[in-house]
């Protein structure tokens, strides 16, 4: 399909694969901090245009006269090999921009929902979102200094997180801690895939 154009562009013979992990959570919960802790580049920002109604405007002709705004997504990059790049995308903080979340999770390896224990209610909307999507996700409690510490079980109960969803503590500022979160996302994605393959796991939760 892309063979002719690839030849003309003198592409490297090897196909480069990219993967992405989505970092979700409420506004100001530390998504960009988390991305920056492991990214090889300073987190970058890409913007999508949208109407004030929260609707995507890839086809602007269909929304004449509507006020538009931009929705920003921060992301980072980890080049793992010449032919493998991992991207980490932070979701837009405002959960009304669902259309952008849909684009972000398409083809993603998995997601982590970052939770600030001082504002636990901010996690309800992102968790609801993932419960209704076919994407493995974990919950990561971002332990800010001085933030009220809860037992993981208390948080699981308060947020009604299903038993099969891993819940981990982390510090979004620290590379090792963030690495552990990402490892957990991928391991959970693998376990979900294996379970799906053997047919013993609910494919879509919620």
């Amino acid at each position: 399909m892309d063979f002719a154009s690839s030849e003309r562009a003198g592409a490297q013979p090897r196909e480069i694969t990219s993967a992405k992990i989505v970092i979700a959570g409420g506004f100001g919960v530390g998504k960009t901090t988390l991305v920056g802790a492991v990214s090889e580049i300073e987190p970058l920002t890409t913007e999508a245009l949208m109407t004030s109604a929260g609707q995507g405007v890839d086809d602007a002709s269909k929304v004449p006269g509507k006020e538009t705004t931009t929705v920003a997504m921060d992301f980072g990059r980890i080049t793992m090999a010449d032919d493998l790049i991992l991207y980490l995308f932070g979701t837009p903080g405002q959960t009304r921009f669902w259309f952008m979340w849909d684009e972000l999770i398409r083809g993603a390896v998995g997601a982590a929902v970052l939770v600030d224990t001082r504002r636990i209610a901010d996690a309800f909307a992102p968790l609801d979102y993932f419960e209704n999507r076919h994407l493995p996700y974990i919950v990561a409690l971002n332990c800010f200094d001085g933030a009220p510490r809860y037992e993981p079980d208390e948080v699981r109960e308060a947020l009604a997180i299903p038993p099969h969803v891993p819940l981990v503590m982390c510090d979004a500022r620290h590379r090792e801690s963030v690495k552990a979160v990402l490892v957990q996302v991928v391991e959970h994605a693998m376990a979900t895939l294996v379970a799906e393959q053997s047919g013993g796991y609910p494919a879509v939760v919620g």
Binding site: S5, S6, G10, V57, I78
Partner: protein, 120 residues
Amino acid sequence: MGQPQDPRGNLVRPYAVTRGRTEPRRDIPIEAILVASQAAVQEARFAGHDKYRIAVLCEAKPQSLAELSAFTRQPLGVARVLVADMVADGLLSLHSAAPKKGFTERMDLLERVLSGLRKL
């Protein structure tokens, strides 16, 4: 101010670089990778400032659509139209545009990502 209101509102201006086109010639995922050869960069000199800039970035190292949007300061939808044109015109080669399908392919990718993370 004082100018006649364009019925399409202020959506028009960002899409000026695509001559008003808002539909890309093909869908390109936000994390798809674009690569340009040296020859393609030379050819892109005649394709306009924005496309030339994109070709230069993609020759230096493989870039995702998201990075091209960020570096050129174009909204994602605008960058997608430009990049899709360049792929169609043979100025960029497109990698990783389709999600992995099937158990083995998906598991292989997860294993590679996991081992990459552990080596960080």
